[in-house]
Subunit: 382 residues, 2 copies
Amino acid sequence: MTTLDDPDTPFAVLDRTRMDRNIDRLRARLDAAGVPLRLHVKTSKSLDVAAAVHRAGPGPVTVSTLAEAEYFADGGYTDILYAVGIEPRKLPRVLDLRRRGVDLAVLLDSAAQAEAVAKASAAAGDAIPALIEIDCDGHRGGIQPDDAALLDIGRLLHDGGAELRGVLDHAGESYYADTPETQRKAAQHERDVVVRAAERLRQAGLPAPVVSVGATPTAHAAADLTGVTEVRAGNYVFFDLVMAGIGVCTVDDLALSVVVTVIGHRTDKGWILTDGGWMATSRDRGTAVQKIDQGYGVVTDLHGRVYADLVMTGASQEHGTLAIRPGSRQVLPDLPIGSRVRILPNHACATAAQHREYHVIDGKPTPDAPAIEAVWPRHNGW
Amino acid sequence: MTTLDDPDTPFAVLDRTRMDRNIDRLRARLDAAGVPLRLHVKTSKSLDVAAAVHRAGPGPVTVSTLAEAEYFADGGYTDILYAVGIEPRKLPRVLDLRRRGVDLAVLLDSAAQAEAVAKASAAAGDAIPALIEIDCDGHRGGIQPDDAALLDIGRLLHDGGAELRGVLDHAGESYYADTPETQRKAAQHERDVVVRAAERLRQAGLPAPVVSVGATPTAHAAADLTGVTEVRAGNYVFFDLVMAGIGVCTVDDLALSVVVTVIGHRTDKGWILTDGGWMATSRDRGTAVQKIDQGYGVVTDLHGRVYADLVMTGASQEHGTLAIRPGSRQVLPDLPIGSRVRILPNHACATAAQHREYHVIDGKPTPDAPAIEAVWPRHNGW
């Protein structure tokens, strides 16, 4: 039996019990609201993880790259939304997937993109479904729900040979909302803005069957999803220290971590050195702007038990530095050369992206090092 | 003919002319000093890039992972230093490579590691060569050159069946030395400290044939390499904005970039949105602590000409935000949907790590989009 003591470090670990708990939590919320989930697979990029969400077989997914769309299509998924504004030169790959029977929809927020999608649809004799991106919080792209361009873009699609499928927004700023009340407000606003856009399209005689919202914080905070037809979320499957920092989960909910091994000590500096640097954790320092800066991550033992106030404070490419949090009275644990620990990440999407596979454990307490049940591949690239 | 206008974005580009210029520059310096280069391949992880340095065939290389060692061994390299403190459980892989005829040396800075290496050497009947890591600037691991442990570790190796090959240091803090004078001092100190450690070993009757120094800033600043037997450097092949920020190179020397495509505009915010986020550039923000914060990177056209004061100010997973640097009077360039630009990275090692391959251009001025001459794979993982 292989355990977390066996593979050469660093490597990524996935705690199946915690993951399933996270999945069940959001499922219960959305089932109660009567709104289906369109899982965002950019976090895990794993068919095995998606199967833990869509237990009855392939269901709706959101992707961040066409490589993900192709990988999930190969895995039997046929209802896919590519939720990054479409680059017109990528339309041939979109059409190739649609010819394979995948109902692949694209996203856009400009007349130029709408014209390109309409033109490609007409040329291929295939009405590419498109959602119009609406901005609800100034986070990234999208148009305002009251912008005149909304109807122009809608007509370019609808009249030009594409399929106007609806509207989408994403409360990206909710990652900085650190109270239940501000998260609830962000969720309400995310819902209100996109529903308003859908209503404007319908009032103009245009179709808007899909009204899509989503971000992990708002998915867990929404009190009112009236008029919303789907919720997108992906990070919640693993959660991370950024989500714990704003209270969407607790540190004990984190399902992803990285196993590293102690390779040295600097007693003069209070450092423990490991063989896991930023190549293993990513350079993401999302908690740097939160109330508690967790460095490059919180340190646990192989069973996932947190060492009080021990954090990964520094990272070179293949070296990590562990130290007691400044101001703490804790002392460094005794971790000789060869000891293994786990690092809980700031940002699960970024840390997972540094790895090719997940070593899956069941996460239940065991006297010895946790057994590795399976190794699940993930699919990076574009 | 394929050009930078053809592959789906984002993708990594390598400018061969700039790379060769960087390679020639350090070669000329080290040839004049009469000290050989041990190329660090952790930046490029590419046999093709290494071949541009070692033009006469495989030469000495430094690796940061055993996966790199195995990849370079497969490529015919037989003189390899694994320059991350050895985790004893990795010694079987070290011995496997040595059985294949690779002169693979390891690094360590503790009695526990020395005992493990000696024990593995004795058990295998193969004296594993080991360098002792010396600290010259408190950057990471290593012992002080006057530490009593130096001789203890040396004896454990030498008397225990391993091969005490010498000493090594790395002026990691020189990445923050932002004048020629402080870089020269860092180089002198890096040399003095490791030579002192070698002398102590020899005075105690122990061997120290190898005296290894190296960091990209000090390799370009060293005035005195007396007693040094090799210089390690890797980043210099590509260079990056961090190196330009401390004056080791100029922005015009950067050989690595990422091609991205414009997918949207937020005129209300002064943003251009692209399809290249942190997945394409990494989360590295190395210039954030420098005199000029370059965000996630400097923006150029497809020919590598910098857009004045246009930087990548924000990054989501697959979205980049371009904006004019705060305080500048420049205006946003006219870059419609579908326009392609290149992003020059903060940290070449981190950005390259996000990609599987390099699209190679010759870098000389052309009227049309630069032609892609070759696609060179890189080897990530552990």
